[in-house]
Amino acid sequence: MEIIQVVGLGLIATILILVIKEQKPIFAFLLAVTASVMIFLFLIGKIGVVIRMLEDLAESSGVQVIYLKTVLKIIGIAYIAEMGAQVVRDAGQESIASKIEMAGKVLILVLAVPIISIIIETVLKLLPA
């Protein structure tokens, strides 16, 4: 039944924002930020459950935890960058939003650097000198 709470919160926030937007756009923006942060905080606990389950699964099946760690880092960066960019975009700052997205992309690619280097090293060793 938590989905009803989340949707209810979103609907109330939306109606309030529509009401207030004409008079005070800045308060409408603050309301939007607050609502999104509240929903995000509400979800953090649930995400924690899923992640703990994945970790347990990985440990019990004997898979190296480093794979999971990398994957979780990717998803974390993607989510945080996305949220920040959307909040900024709501305020009408398209250029800053695109910069935040770019930062997220670059940081995700940085995570790929060690993987790429390991693969390339192996390939170079496979080739006859």
């Binding site: 994945l54 699964l57 990985a58 099946s61 004997g62 898979v63 190296q64 480093i66 794979y67 999971l68 760690k69 990398t70 994957v71 990717i74 998803i75 993607a78 989510y79 960058a81 996305e82 949220m83 997205e101 997220g104 992309k105 995700i108 690619l109 940085v110 995570l111 790929a112 650097v113 060690p114 993987i115 790429i116 280097s117 390991i118 693969i119 090293e121 192996t122 060793k125 496979l126």
Partner: protein, 238 residues
């Protein structure tokens, strides 16, 4: 065959993770980048037997490299949260001490004025010690002790007294004179003792009035107030 099952397991798990991540990815803008990294990861998992044949096992290398990335952007020690919090606590304490001290001085000044106007006593110095009533809150302080140092009555009277007491006061210093003035030394001492008793009684009356005033005005207990008179330099607590 054990390595085969381990390898299969890890490949399956990594592919599962990748599918999962692909599902809960927030938007399309990140999708291409995330997919690239995830496919690299799957490739690494697939190649891991070959890699571990040629060099170290890929998992260890990856962990090492990731650790290096994280430690390279290591924040300096001054920027750590605990350090900052400790500094803030220290600053707060200093500030509280300062404000208490300042408030004590202010109260002391007011007390001095009050004593001077209401009892007519000449006050040399008032010292007030304040402490915060609750730990870590500067906005509720209590007076723990008050020290009042009274001047010796009126100016002329004080001079007179000093003149009278002079033999008794100087005598211990001037060792030679003890022998010479032995005769009326005794009577003199007697006289000074009487004098001192008189002064004591007088002082007691004076301090009582001051004490009463302070108790009434500042809501203090008797043992919090200590009154000295500056003429009896031994700081006899009355």
């Amino acid at each position: 065959m054990e390595w085969l099952s381990g390898w299969l397991k890890s490949v399956i798990m990594v592919v599962m993770f990748a599918a999962f991540i692909d599902l809960i990815l927030p938007s399309k803008t990140m999708q291409r980048y995330v997919r690239l990294v995830l496919s690299m990861l799957i490739m690494l998992a697939l190649l891991s037997p070959i890699i571990s044949l040629l060099t170290e096992s890929p998992e260890k290398q990856l962990a090492l490299e990731l650790e290096q990335i994280e430690s390279s952007k290591d924040i300096p020690k001054e920027a750590e949260l605990e350090h900052i919090l400790a500094q803030a606590e220290q600053l707060k304490n200093v500030q509280q001490q300062q404000s208490l001290q300042w408030a004590g001085e202010e109260i002391a000044r007011q007390m001095k004025d009050q004593i001077m106007t209401e009892t007519g006593e000449a006050v040399e110095e008032v010292e007030v010690v304040l402490t915060a009533s609750r730990e870590g809150s500067a906005n509720s302080a209590v007076i723990t002790s008050v020290e009042v140092r009274l001047k010796g009555a009126d100016h002329g009277e004080a001079e007179e007294k000093i003149a009278e007491e002079e033999p008794g006061g100087v005598e211990p210093v001037d060792a030679v004179r003890i022998d010479v003035k032995l005769d009326y030394n005794g009577s003199d001492q007697h006289k000074t003792r009487d004098e001192a008793l008189e002064v004591d009684a007088e002082m007691e009356a004076r301090t009582a009035s001051v004490r009463e005033l302070l108790q009434k005005r500042w809501d203090l207990k008797t043992d919090q107030i200590s009154i000295y008179s500056s003429e009896s330099e031994a700081e006899s607590k009355l």
